[in-house]
Structures are given as structure tokens and as C-alpha cells.
């Protein structure tokens, strides 16, 4: 692209600084040929803005609604929308402090709760310990995963994630001494996103999660990879 054409392009895109605009207009004033090229491009832009607008036909809305009646949203999609709707996360200093400190304390807690993962697999009657990883065809093995969160001030903690339809009322954590909340859940191997829900309203990602994933609303879900 020629330098002059680039200038015209930037002028039309409103990309020039005030100083550059002055220089541009002076260049146009001094060069009739350049000015004509610029004006022809301006004409295109000006005419495009004024192109007549079509009005949708009178039956347009009725036709759309007729098609919608044939294409209802599935119950699953509605449920998903309900649990993934934008939420306001409530944060305060005490909560943030607790969340920040939970990592340190929970590491100790995790050691106490070890083993963290237990493979639940069908064991052949004649098998031995070495065969616990051999699964009968058609039977799905699960992994018990213990979730831990330190929230001394919480009255209730639950977990909502891909594994329970993001239903915060389904999987509650139990409180133990020191304000540690735990739950052990059986999951099939896979990748799950989840969040803790404190007192039924405050959604927080697991500070111990090794990985996070954007939830589409600017916050991060915790990610859990479950493998045997």
C-alpha cells in the first residue's frame, strides 16, 4: 500500500492523531489528484451509511415464532443455563484472607486425610491385590476424590460442578474440627469443573485446584482431572 493510500485508509478509519489529521488535510489540499481519490472513497463510505434499510415483512415475526414452536430448547440446556447464569461473587476481606490461607492449612489437612484417592474397581474373586486395576468388561470404575476446603466461618459448604449438574444443593461438605469442610465423591475418570458454594451464596474456586478454567463470566472454575 502506498504511503498516501495508507494515510487515506487511516483517516477513514479514524486512526489518525489530531496532528496527523492536520498534516493529512494539508496534503489533500496541496494535491488535487490525491484529494479526488480520497473524496471518492469518502463517497463510498457516505453512501453506504445511507443505503436504504429493508423492513422485515409483516409475516416475519409470526414465521420465526412458528419455527420456534418446532424447536424448543431442551430441558438439559435450560438446566445448564440456570446453573451457569451470571453470578455475583461476594467477597470480603475475611473471606479473602481465609481463602488465601486455606492453601497452606489444607495441604496439611490433605496429608492427614491421605490416601486422597481410592480406586474403586471390581476385583475378581480369585484375584489378588495386583489385579485391582483389571476391570471386567462393561463395568465402569470410579475414583473416590476427597474435596477439602478450610472455611472456619462458614455455616455450610457444598460443591457444584459438572459431576452434579452444577446443583449446589446436591453435594454438601461435612464440617470437621478447625473449620475444615470435606466431601468424598465417586467420579468416573474424566475432567470436571467445579466450585465451592459457601453458605449457599458465595461461589469460590477451590484454592487447591491444580488448574482453573474461565467460566465465561470473568471468574475461574476449578478443574479436576480424574484418572485411574
Amino acid at each position: 500500500m502506498r504511503e498516501q493510500d495508507l494515510l487515506i485508509q487511516r483517516f477513514l478509519d479514524d486512526d489518525l492523531t489530531p496532528e496527523e489529521r492536520v498534516a493529512f488535510l494539508q496534503a489533500m489540499d496541496a494535491d488535487p489528484s490525491l484529494r479526488r481519490r480520497w473524496l471518492n472513497l469518502e463517497l463510498v463510505v457516505a453512501e453506504a451509511v445511507q443505503l436504504p434499510r429493508l423492513a422485515p415483512s409483516a409475516r416475519f415475526l409470526a414465521q420465526v415464532q412458528g419455527k420456534l414452536a418446532l424447536a424448543p430448547v431442551s430441558l438439559w440446556d435450560r438446566l445448564r443455563a440456570m446453573v451457569t447464569a451470571p453470578r455475583t461473587l461476594e467477597w470480603n476481606f475475611a473471606g479473602a484472607t481465609a481463602a488465601a490461607s486455606v492453601a497452606l492449612v489444607a495441604v496439611v489437612g490433605l496429608l492427614q486425610f491421605a490416601p486422597e484417592r481410592i480406586v474403586e474397581a471390581p476385583i475378581p474373586a480369585s484375584g489378588n491385590q495386583a489385579q485391582t486395576a483389571s476391570f471386567a468388561p462393561g463395568q465402569e470404575s470410579k475414583v473416590y476424590v476427597r474435596l477439602v476446603l478450610l472455611q472456619p466461618d462458614a455455616r455450610s459448604v457444598s460443591v457444584a460442578g459438572d459431576f452434579n449438574g452444577w446443583n449446589p444443593g446436591q453435594t454438601k461438605l461435612e464440617r470437621s474440627e478447625g473449620g475444615m469442610w470435606t466431601a468424598t465423591i465417586a467420579l468416573k475418570p474424566g475432567r470436571y469443573q467445579y466450585m465451592f458454594v459457601i453458605d449457599g451464596k458465595q461461589w469460590v474456586a477451590d484454592p487447591l485446584a491444580e488448574e482453573g478454567a474461565g467460566d465465561g463470566f470473568g471468574a475461574q472454575n476449578a478443574v479436576l482431572d480424574v484418572a485411574i
Partner: protein, 195 residues
């Protein structure tokens, strides 16, 4: 300037979306009414046929309704609709007019970079109505990706930031497409003098 989609995602709109998610067809009907003109016009500029444009606009709204649970508030509802509509139009062009490349084209193959806007002045020779009619037809002759970029920028009046979200390519690429579109249109209008 042509009226573009309401760029503010108002509370009212959020409520309509929430009600639509609960299968409230009246609420979604209000959203359709609000955006029908914009989407029909975008589709018309893309495919150049009113009947097809209305069909594509209807498909856009049906697809939006079905996908509404997956709509993320991080983008505007209007931007999301534009994206669905332009994708529908490009799919349609691929199927119905395979001769019109919808893939990204090498701009230098389509237009010589040395080509500049004609120095003739068509406005002296044509009435504004004639210019508009010619411009309408000339837009249809643009390569689809230039057409999409030009229409979103200069007919719909969108910013390059919004266009990035809709088209999914960076602003520099969009600016180049718009520039090439403007250049080709300018040249075609100038050629009317000879015609």
C-alpha cells in the same frame, strides 16, 4: 448514519433473555422484533436477495433461541446475533454460490495493491439514488469476506473491536478487508461514468 443495533445491553434486554430461557416466547418475540430489521438487513447485504435474507434471518433467530442457554454475557447479545447471522450467510454462500470464495483470500490476487481509487468523480454524473443503487449492486460483487467487513463497518456502523468478536479475526485483517472493499467499490462507481 444507519441505525445500528442498540449497543447497550440494557437491564430490559437482560430480563427478556432471562425470560426467554424459561421458554417465554413473548419475551423472545420482543427480542426478535428489536433486532429483526438489523439482522434482515445484514443478511440482505450479504446474500443480495430479500427472500433468502428473511429466511436466513429467521434461521438466525431460531438458532439463537436454541443456543440461548450457551449465550455468555461476556459478549453483547447484539454481537452474538451478528455472529450467528454472518456465519449463516457465509454457510449459505458456500452452499449456493460456491464460485464466491468465502475463505480468506490473498488480497493481492484480487486487487492490485497499486490500484488506487479512481480520480473521476461519479457524483457529478449520477444522482444519489443512482449511486445508492449502483453501490448496492457493487457490494454484492465484492468477495464475501470484503463484503462482510465492509457491511459491518460502513453499513452497520460497528467498531473494529465489535467486528473482531463477530468475525473472529484481528482488527488489522479487518481493516485491510474494509480498505480493499472500499477501493473496489470506489473503482466500480467511477466506472459508471464510462457505462
Amino acid at each position: 448514519m444507519a441505525m445500528s443495533i442498540d449497543h447497550g445491553r440494557s437491564n430490559d434486554e437482560a430480563k427478556l433473555i432471562a425470560r426467554s430461557l424459561k421458554q417465554d416466547s413473548d419475551a423472545f418475540g420482543q427480542l426478535v422484533e428489536r433486532y429483526a430489521t438489523v439482522i434482515v438487513n445484514v443478511a440482505y447485504r450479504m446474500v443480495g436477495d430479500r427472500t433468502e435474507a428473511e429466511d436466513l434471518a429467521q434461521e438466525t433467530f431460531v438458532a439463537a433461541f436454541k443456543a440461548l442457554p450457551r449465550f455468555r454475557a461476556e459478549s453483547k447479545f447484539s454481537t452474538w446475533l451478528y455472529r450467528i447471522a454472518t456465519n449463516k450467510c457465509k454457510d449459505w454462500l458456500r452452499a449456493k454460490r460456491p464460485g464466491q470464495a468465502v475463505q480468506d483470500v490473498d488480497v493481492d490476487e484480487v486487487l492490485d495493491d497499486g490500484v488506487v481509487a479512481e480520480e473521476r468523480t461519479p457524483e457529478r454524473l449520477l444522482s444519489q439514488q443512482q449511486v445508492a443503487a449502483q453501490l448496492d449492486r457493487a457490494i454484492q460483487r465484492l468477495p464475501p469476506l470484503y463484503r462482510e467487513a465492509f457491511v459491518l463497518k460502513h453499513v452497520e456502523g460497528l467498531s473494529y473491536e465489535e467486528m473482531q468478536e463477530i468475525v473472529g479475526v484481528n482488527a488489522d485483517t479487518l481493516k485491510m478487508r474494509v480498505y480493499k472493499g472500499r477501493l473496489q467499490l470506489s473503482r466500480e462507481l467511477a466506472e459508471l461514468k464510462e457505462a
